[in-house]
């Protein structure tokens, strides 16, 4: 899934990255979201992480559904093809893109409405297929673009601006993704820039579906008292599972973790995710049940545990399952797309 090619020396705040590109090559149009919207922070994190990682913007496809969150695909990577599609269908659309061109890095941004309401079935089936893509959920617990109704990720007991209380069980996209066999599942908060960046970079390095659920408050419709997705609430009710860092495969520095204090996850491309203990307690993101248990507890506690929740290497992504030729199908020359006339006539003979 990574499209990076040449190694380059990492540096702190470099002017250009290893592809010799400036940060501006990773920017998009100016945002038209509300001032202070959580989604805009995520956009910045995407820009920075892809710049840092040195992803080639011309080898990225940006995908989204419909919603405020989905609009953001226009606000980063102006040099990448983007597709703001229809509500709830980003997952199968991305599947088609992944099949058409295996060389693309597919970055999808979606909303909680887009993913967990209308798109739930398609989302889960995409996860099940392990479609190579980064699937970012900008989760504000409501429908921003249609003016703030509850979405399916609203917590039981959460209150709308107008006073209604949500009676329904929350849908936790992380838990469901794990249930469906996803090999890379993270949760973060739009304001936790460092963690978010590490998770995004790890997702770039992950070869199958990577799901990151980012709590991203809607300042206009879901930032009041009683909301469990307001800036205030989230800040007071979240905790880091670990101190997460991403070391790219082309890194030259020695990894300076203290064994016992840090867990290291090796990615398929040689990059590493390091997870430092917090307050001495260690969370094991490779234990499915730990992960599910944690998420279930989180629902009861109405608390956001953030970080890399689950990681499992070695699950075949869809293109490998299908034994596809490595070049993009999209640009295979005509002669490779049409069997010979002899083949054709042989087929005809079968019907005689």
């Amino acid at each position: 899934m990574t499209t990076a090619t040449e190694p380059a020396p990492p540096a702190k705040e470099p002017k250009v990255n290893r592809l010799n590109l400036e940060k501006s090559a990773y920017k998009g149009l100016a945002s038209t979201l509300c001032k202070g919207c959580g989604h805009d922070s995520i956009t910045r994190a995407i820009i920075d992480s892809l710049f840092d990682y040195g992803v080639d913007p011309m080898k990225v496809a940006k995908l989204s559904g419909i919603g405020c969150s989905s609009k953001t695909s226009a606000y980063f990577l102006g040099q990448s093809h983007g597709f703001n599609s229809v509500h709830g269908r980003m997952a199968p659309i991305a599947t088609g893109v992944a099949l058409a061109n295996r060389e693309l890095l597919n970055i999808g941004v979606s909303g909680d409405g887009d993913t967990a309401s209308i798109g739930l079935g398609n989302f889960l089936h995409m996860v099940r297929r392990n479609v190579p893509m980064i699937y970012l959920i900008e989760n504000n617990g409501c429908y921003g673009l249609t003016k703030g109704q509850f979405s399916a990720t609203a917590d039981r007991g959460a209150v709308l601006r107008k006073g209604q209380t949500n009676e329904l069980h929350v849908i936790d996209c992380c838990a469901l993704a794990i249930e469906l066999g996803c090999g890379y599942v993270g949760r973060s908060y739009s304001g936790d820039f460092k963690q978010l960046q590490a998770l995004i970079k790890g997702a770039v390095a992950h070869p199958g579906t990577a799901v990151i659920d980012v709590i991203s408050p809607c300042i206009t419709f879901n930032d009041h008292d009683g909301s469990t997705k307001s800036f205030k609430y989230v800040k007071e009710h979240k905790g880091f599972l670990h101190d997460i860092d991403f070391r790219p495969f082309f890194g030259t520095e020695e990894v300076d973790y203290s064994p016992g204090e840090t867990r290291v996850i090796e990615m398929a491309d040689g990059s590493k995710i390091t997870l430092g203990k917090i307050n001495g307690s260690e969370y094991d993101p490779t234990d499915r049940f730990e992960a599910l248990k944690l998420l279930d507890r989180a629902i009861d506690e109405k608390f956001y545990y953030t970080g890399l929740i689950y990681e499992e290497a070695g699950i075949k992504p869809l293109d490998e399952q299908l034994e596809m030729t490595p070049e993009p199908l999209a640009t295979l020359p005509a002669e490779r797309l049409r069997p010979t006339d002899e083949c054709f006539n042989k087929i005809m003979d079968m019907f005689r």
Binding site: A25, P57, M58, K59, A61, L63, I66, S73, A74, G78, Q79, S80, H81, G82, F83, N84, S85, V86, R89, A91, P92, I93, A94, T95, G96, V97, A98, L99, A100, N101, E103, L104, G121, N122, H125, R129, L318, L322, E323, M324, T325, P326, P328, L329, A330, T331, L332, A334, R336, L337, R338, P339, D341, C343, F344, N345, I347, M348, F351, R352
Partner: protein, 617 residues
């Protein structure tokens, strides 16, 4: 069989006067899941091997096992092998339908009756051949196999009665069982025993006989869905996403087999295609949209309910101008309808599919050969026009057996439409995604992943300028929508033109039809000319939007009979809407009971109108 009987279908059945050579309809009534299908195909193919034009239509239930099925074989030396409703021979194997089947026969018809069913026979105007099939089969095999093998016994009886060539049958059995030699041998034995029995016990008849002919040189027998699948594989499709639904599933299942055999890289054995069975039709169409956007030649196959579910994405494909192809193998709707019955009920729906102002390009294959050709053509047109292209097949074409000239290897090359490459950009080509540079309404596109910093554009289903930026400006919206109309006009001459056949000297009566109605229309024209001195011209529509030749045809005829296999005169409605000046010229001939149309429907209407006109003159 009396001449009266023949008259009831307006000349469709042959007038029996002496021996009718090579013109007969045999219907087999069984229950599905009993293995009768292979016996039916053996019979049909044997007639094919005798060189006689033949067709086989399978009327099966929406069920897996046990419900009534009919197989209708029509052999006709002149090639009139559209459905003919009244069989000359009925093979009655199914107790559930025996009574009704027998009662529906024309007087004088032949009845091959499984003897256990004789209780259902309550008329004496038929030629009845009671056959102890169960007894015969008991002497051949044991156990469960009997149920299967019993079917080939009726092949023996009918072979005897019609004089079907024994070699042809054996060749046909070999073909049917392929490498399964044991099964073939068993069936041959059973067939021969039954033939023997028939020769000894059933008097031969002289009314209908089949004789070897040479009409099938260079021909093949094929289902339309398999033809479509060949079109998929040779049309250079790269992504096929589908969801099972009758009667379209076998398009994809055949394609999977052909892909696997013929579209793997010889060096690496890797696939130059991808097939995904999606979780539903929303997903399969979304995958096609995503793949088409990213540059694949992508398609799906489905039927009515799938079309409905794909509506929203169809609109996206139209408006964002993404090449996609849908093969709609039409079955009887609305709703779940009759999943195993045929119709042409989705035409209007597909043409206008999705909310808002949008229209789609429809190819209308009228033969299994066109199933093959139009599938390839659709993949080209979708990319050339950057839009959704439908191939509107139907269950009759798709799942029945058709004798046709062997298809020719593709003659048209794989074309990709207007794609701007990195090289083009390097050479200074200007790129504006939705700008009509060429004046045909079709713009240029780049593919995601094009390695050039000016290649990218942003695709959306919302209003946009010609450089693909978001816009709510009234004039941007209107300009874009008008360009799409212009593009649709371009499509009129890009799609396959209608085929026109004129009577000698021409006629003032025009018939328009499309799709699987073709054979029935031609037969009706033939009978009208032969028996009623009524000559007609004929235009077979092969695509929507229709081209100038259609205007010309309608304009130059006094009256147009538009034959459709739907209730609501769907294509008539489209023509009337787009060409008000022709609206009153069009009379609809409609057939919509789930059976493939037969010439009688058309005959009856034209003759009725003819006599009315004569009466009023």
């Amino acid at each position: 069989m009396s001449a009266t009987a023949a008259k009831t279908d307006a000349g469709l059945s042959p007038v029996v006067d002496g021996t009718v050579i090579n013109d007969v309809v045999v219907e087999v009534a069984t229950a599905n899941g009993t293995g009768s299908q292979s016996a039916n195909l053996i019979l049909m193919r044997a007639i094919f091997y005798m060189g006689i034009p033949v067709s086989g239509k399978n009327l099966f239930p929406s069920n897996i096992q046990g419900l009534p099925t009919w197989f209708n074989i029509r052999a006709n030396g002149e090639g009139w092998v559209a459905r003919r409703p009244h069989p000359d021979f009925l093979i009655a194997m199914n107790p559930e339908t025996a009574e009704a089947d027998i009662n529906a026969l024309q007087p004088g018809a032949f009845l091959i009756l499984r003897d256990s069913l004789k209780g259902f026979l309550k008329r004496d105007d038929l030629v009845v051949c009671e056959c102890p099939f169960d007894k015969i089969v008991a002497g051949i095999v044991k156990g469960l196999l009997r149920k299967k093998v019993v079917n080939v016994l009726y092949v023996g009886v009918i072979a005897h009665l019609l004089g079907i060539d024994v070699e042809a049958i054996e060749k046909s059995i070999d073909w049917q069982f392929g490498t399964k030699k044991k099964a073939a041998d068993l069936n041959k034995t059973a067939f021969r025993e039954s033939l023997e029995w028939a020769r000894e016990n059933i008097p031969s008849q002289e009314k209908f006989q089949l004789q070897k002919s040479d009409a099938n040189e260079g021909k093949i027998v094929i289902e339309g869905n398999e033809a479509s699948a060949i079109g998929v594989v040779f049309g250079g499709a790269t992504v096929l996403a589908w969801y099972p639904i009758t009667p379209s599933s076998s398009v994809c299942e055949y394609a999977i087999d052909y892909f696997d055999k013929y579209r793997r890289d010889p060096a690496t054995d890797k696939a130059t295609y991808a097939v995904v069975q999606a979780e539903d039709e929303l997903a399969s169409m979304a995958m096609v949209v995503g793949a088409g956007w990213a540059g694949a030649r992508a398609l799906t196959a489905t039927a009515g309910p799938g079309i409905s579910l794909m509506s929203e994405l169809a609109g996206l494909s139209y408006f964002a101008e993404i090449p996609t192809v849908i093969i709609d193998v039409q079955r009887m709707g609305p709703s779940t309808g009759l999943p195993t019955r045929t119709c042409q009920g989705d035409i209007l729906k597909a043409y206008y599919l999705s909310h808002g102002d949008c229209k789609h390009v429809l190819l209308l294959p009228g033969s299994v050969e066109e199933n093959y050709e139009f599938t390839m053509e659709a993949l080209n047109l979708a990319e050339q026009l950057q839009t959704l292209v439908f191939v509107m097949s139907d269950l009759d074409l798709g799942m029945n057996y058709w004798v046709t000239d062997a298809f020719k290897p593709p003659t048209k090359s794989i074309t990709r439409g207007k794609i701007v490459t990195a090289e083009d950009l390097e050479n200074g080509v200007e790129f504006a995604r939705y700008r009509d540079v060429d004046g045909d309404g079709v713009c240029h596109r780049t593919l995601p992943g094009t390695p050039h910093r000016d290649a990218a554009y942003f695709t959306r289903g919302t209003g946009h300028t010609d450089t693909a930026t978001y816009s709510e400006k009234p004039e941007d919206w209107k300009n874009n929508m008008d360009r799409l109309v212009h593009k649709f006009e371009t499509a009129r001459s890009a799609v396959p033109a209608a085929k026109i056949e004129t009577a000698e000297g021409g006629s003032e009566i025009g018939i328009i039809a499309y799709g699987s109605s073709d054979l029935a229309v031609r037969e009706a024209r033939h009978i009208l000319a032969r028996d009623h001195d009524l000559s007609t011209d004929y235009l077979r529509l092969r695509a929507l939007p229709f081209g100038a030749e259609v205007d010309q045809f309608i304009r130059s005829h006094r009256v147009i009979y538009l034959v459709e296999q739907n209730r609501d005169a769907q294509v008539a409605g489209i023509i009337r809407a787009e060409r008000p000046e022709f609206a009153t010229k069009i009379k609809s001939v409609l057939h919509y009971d789930g059976m493939p149309i037969d010439a009688g429907v058309i005959l009856a209407r034209l003759l009725k109108d003819g006599s009315r006109e004569n009466g009023s003159q």
